[in-house]
Symmetry: D2
Subunit: 417 residues, 4 copies
Amino acid sequence: MTAHHLDLLSHFTTVRNRSVALVAPLSAEDCGAQSMPDASPAKWHLAHTTWFFETFVLEAHEPGFVPFQPAFRVLFNSYYNGVGAKHPRPQRGLLTRPPLTEVLAYRANVDARMAALLPVVAHNAALCALIELGLQHEQQHQELLVTDVKHLLSCNPLWPAYLPTAVVLPPAAPALHWQPFEGGLTDIGYAGEGFAFDNESPRHRVYLHPYALASRLVTYAEYAAFVDGGGYQNPALWLAEGWDWRAAQALEHPLYWQRLEGGWHSFTLTGLQPLEGARPVVHLSYYEADAYARWMSARLPTEAEWEHAARQSLEKPAFSQAPHLPGDDFSDADAVQMVQWFGAAWQWTQSSYAPYPGFRVADGAVGEYNGKFMVNQYVLRGSSVATPLGHERISYRNFFPATARWQFTGLRLARDL
Amino acid sequence: MTAHHLDLLSHFTTVRNRSVALVAPLSAEDCGAQSMPDASPAKWHLAHTTWFFETFVLEAHEPGFVPFQPAFRVLFNSYYNGVGAKHPRPQRGLLTRPPLTEVLAYRANVDARMAALLPVVAHNAALCALIELGLQHEQQHQELLVTDVKHLLSCNPLWPAYLPTAVVLPPAAPALHWQPFEGGLTDIGYAGEGFAFDNESPRHRVYLHPYALASRLVTYAEYAAFVDGGGYQNPALWLAEGWDWRAAQALEHPLYWQRLEGGWHSFTLTGLQPLEGARPVVHLSYYEADAYARWMSARLPTEAEWEHAARQSLEKPAFSQAPHLPGDDFSDADAVQMVQWFGAAWQWTQSSYAPYPGFRVADGAVGEYNGKFMVNQYVLRGSSVATPLGHERISYRNFFPATARWQFTGLRLARDL
Amino acid sequence: MTAHHLDLLSHFTTVRNRSVALVAPLSAEDCGAQSMPDASPAKWHLAHTTWFFETFVLEAHEPGFVPFQPAFRVLFNSYYNGVGAKHPRPQRGLLTRPPLTEVLAYRANVDARMAALLPVVAHNAALCALIELGLQHEQQHQELLVTDVKHLLSCNPLWPAYLPTAVVLPPAAPALHWQPFEGGLTDIGYAGEGFAFDNESPRHRVYLHPYALASRLVTYAEYAAFVDGGGYQNPALWLAEGWDWRAAQALEHPLYWQRLEGGWHSFTLTGLQPLEGARPVVHLSYYEADAYARWMSARLPTEAEWEHAARQSLEKPAFSQAPHLPGDDFSDADAVQMVQWFGAAWQWTQSSYAPYPGFRVADGAVGEYNGKFMVNQYVLRGSSVATPLGHERISYRNFFPATARWQFTGLRLARDL
Amino acid sequence: MTAHHLDLLSHFTTVRNRSVALVAPLSAEDCGAQSMPDASPAKWHLAHTTWFFETFVLEAHEPGFVPFQPAFRVLFNSYYNGVGAKHPRPQRGLLTRPPLTEVLAYRANVDARMAALLPVVAHNAALCALIELGLQHEQQHQELLVTDVKHLLSCNPLWPAYLPTAVVLPPAAPALHWQPFEGGLTDIGYAGEGFAFDNESPRHRVYLHPYALASRLVTYAEYAAFVDGGGYQNPALWLAEGWDWRAAQALEHPLYWQRLEGGWHSFTLTGLQPLEGARPVVHLSYYEADAYARWMSARLPTEAEWEHAARQSLEKPAFSQAPHLPGDDFSDADAVQMVQWFGAAWQWTQSSYAPYPGFRVADGAVGEYNGKFMVNQYVLRGSSVATPLGHERISYRNFFPATARWQFTGLRLARDL
């Protein structure tokens, strides 16, 4: 048994256990409900991430493979058309069977079989890469699980808390300053030896015009000034499609905000709380982020600008990760002083999600992973309070439609120079 | 303590306990999900029926009233605008809090407080009538709970059973014959001393033309002949609105039917089962019932015809109740021999749900009970396998929109003479 | 050539010419547009009523029949499934070809062929009845043409007038008093020798409880008091479905009303005009009519009550018809003094549109005329300012869904005695 | 009067007259109808392009300005929020008033006033630029007018022709070969002295990787092979969103195709015609273009690749324009031999419509022209058979949502090298 295998097993165990830990504060009822078609029940996330290993790894490589439950192949498929039928997404919340206990048993079963398989396949690099993909996939679902649970709980007028309240007073946000970048020819995309998603490759050359980026993210206090200053009533600040979207739903503020006595509040992972002005604002759609930037006579960065600037900024040894999941946002004084590239909020870019030059879709069902979503979505860079530690990467490309608000999505301003 | 009070307490306990018994086969997850806006989670039924007693009885009459949980006043209000705000109906399935255990505690708490109150108020006839209304209301929700659970489980491709399979071979249905009625002047509506809903009054005179009714309900086998004979492809058999409804959803058979190898199957309370041809067909919309009747050169009865015929037929001492809830439909050989006025299926009538001459809505929120639904619904008579024993009445007026299919709704044919 | 034939030819010519006269104030553009799926272009009405004669009369009886344009068979079919395909209703406004001129040529062609056929078939009673049905059908479309044109013009912010303004000051409405009726056994439905639609038969016996009817219709001034008195904000006054309908569209007043400087205005056939308080209010949905009645502690009459009362009231020789189409409503002082059974507004009844006892659908496509609409519609009695003179009948049953507002629909109050 | 002014007046007259010429084959009825919310009536295009000159030029510069009709300011505003209210877009087809004759009078009136104004303002460069923008705007609407009329006529089962049939036999398409381009640093965007839209600026540097472009556009015959080869049944070929879009509408072929006896037909500007296999395929959505490219193991070009390649290819003097509007597509043998950069079909690129580096929105209402649409649209390059001669430009950026099919949209394949 090699060190490599031990590493993979350890990694496997750590990631898999974290998923189960995320539902510890939840009841079986909490884990079963689905608050909107875009979200999935926590139970479904637990099962689907397990289905990945059973379908793509065990089915092909386990001697004498017998599925834990044949029906799960359809129930917990998500979008892999190549794998066959799938349960309709908007009806995931109706799957009260299998119960949570059975899904946890499914996880334990697959974990044990995977643990048995790993020594046997440790030298199969392609398979190890596939297992790594499964773990990265699971980490993505861990973030979705948190955002989906938050959305579900926000639909309950009892305002239940997912996490206990952190008793940390947020410091004031540091002053924002503009950091200039010269641009020119630069390379973006993943280049190392470790794992990266297919959409981060190939590393390739781009030409950047001079630009400046804000030294930190936009805060709740700053965004509240936009809201209170009539930002949601002025069509000149909005993309036409964004204005129509806003008007059709009569939106007057970001998701989860409520104006109560005492001022703006927001529903957070610790329940309904007064807006903490110094924290990075999250739960913005692309339209809202873009409108705010226009109000500030600024714009959203491109993803190439973001990556170029992050690379230059993070080469310093002082870079460290923000703590995760204590409140809704990081609550540690150090974190607010950070450059906030990671761990604070996903940052909308103006870049449409598109293939890099030379991008090739992998063969087989796994090839459905990223490429087929490359239309009408926008790239987000960085990572959020809900992103598992170690999952973030400078070349990481998250993506969502312009309307998405239930993710931890904020923004960093950019300007032409 | 009077006998009357003891009767009321005993009745109260019996009805309330039956609701809890109905969820015994279900998990907390099963009880929380909502499969469509028309249906409610079982947990919601349990809480809402309790809310009725706390809001309309305890709040007004209990000394030192303190609500079990103030937020429940909004969460478990259904449609009583007079009582204030209500949680949006389509989002009842998102209320993972309070958990089922807390709703059961809410029930126990209110039951204990009601048990304490009953001796004190036994001589308050108006209040006792209100409590009786609450119990009848709960019995209505017991039937809805069963139909809603059935619908939820039908959305799960695992086809879970709510009840264990009854191992009774269904006998052949008896031959259908036509029973003539002379008609003329007759009185319909409730006239006795016991409980009846406001919509059954006043008892009043109507004039009936001669008519005939079928001696029993239409069976699955008979309806399958309509399906297999092209009934769903022939617009001449359908009301125009029914045809458009059918076409828009591409419906080719009643709800819950599936054509598998081996022929028609139906999802039932005991899971997916081959169609039992001799049982009364259920889960028909008004449109489907009407189309079948037209195919048979017959029609649906009016509610006055139904009541008139039922009164004449049921004056015999041999009348007895059908057994309840063993399978999806009654499974006892005796039952099939019965006239099937009650306990087999709600029977669509051609009568639009409208006020009887002289009908008056009661004052206050309780007045919202029935009157405000008197438009675009059709009256169903009889009772079904899911109706609690003793809840049925010859003058009982159930009502649903013409599109409703998830109730146990069938039909009895009628003809002009 | 018999007198009977001459009468039929004269009747044919009169009715057919009136349709063409109705579009005299309109351009070809006006005649082609369709403002909503419920409405049809005027050009379509002109063609469809002609299609009826070509399809049901000429095709079967004209020697050497050749269709004017074979494609019209599909284009101008409305809902007769028995006749074959039909153009999708919501797309009638896209038929810019054939142009209006060709549709008028189609009318002239069919009229000439019908004039040639009539002497030959004068003794064929069944065919003459079918022709009479075609003319009555055309008169129904004449009313729809006017209401559809009114709706179309109301969508134009230029507020074009269909008719020149009548310069008649409306008198005050007479005081409303309640006229009692004893009820008892009575016969309703058509019984004479002349034409009546199938849905008015068979004449049959009903039993009526004592009731009272208002001596005249509800006026604009009276309804404005309901609007201004918060009628559209009080759910206790509304049927539940009506309240939801109102809330979903945020309705605060009847169709065509606008609150301008100077008070309530209404879009009429003569353009935008101040509300004339003494006229009967029109353009109410069933829900609005019902809510107003509840506010007045009254109710809508049943159709049997209406017919019974109208028969008793109209046996006096003084009964005469209201003038037609001068403004939106009748504008003659005499008319306001009338009992307003006819010529003022269709009057909602609480009766769902259902078959009379013994009703039978005719064979063939013509049998699709009425019976297949007998669900989820409500009967209106009387006739309106847009009803062709002579088309009205005491036994006449008009019907529309509870949501319909673009017809000239008002109400007369009723009460139990 | 300067030569410059004479040029502008001549240009003005030419462009304005062409709009009127485009409706010559149409009736007033044809010009008034609107077949879908995305399309506008021809009459509306005629009026709106006139409104532009009256609102943005005459209102500010004409001495003693009096609007032709004040109501037109709202009626014929399109999306300029800065100008105030606008008539709801989906209801443009209901504006039967003003009639076409009045809109033509409006055009003549504004044209005469503009002709009087032009000499006075000839030296006002900013105003001349605005007038030029108005003419370019009108040319854009000329193309929309043609595509909207085509869509309207396609909804009519009489299949009316807009243009007389061209009797030209299409030659076979030339063989497709791949033309390689080295890429590297290059500049794209407009750089000359003449007119260009704001979205074509600033000219800026980009880095291109080596690529190849197909020597001509994809033809009907090639696309039919994709359709007949199961392209619309294989999800692996489609973007996920494209597949869902296709499935929801059960699409099996491009817009306007019909499979009749004798094979594929297409509705064209000359009516329903057999598919002409050698012509460039048009009326594809982005999804369909992308799926075809995947099927061919190719991809869509980026807009920078397209512009870079077009510049290199068109520097030869032999470049000439394709003829316009003879049939649906060019029908001249020479044209098929051309490189088809312009005049054949708009060519989807994989580039999301986004601002160029340094892009600034103009002040005032005119600033709403392009920038506010820069989200969820894709850039098309080239020009089509419906584009006015002289309107095309190498740097021209047309844009539509991925779902749009009613424009003359085709594709040219690209590959990485």
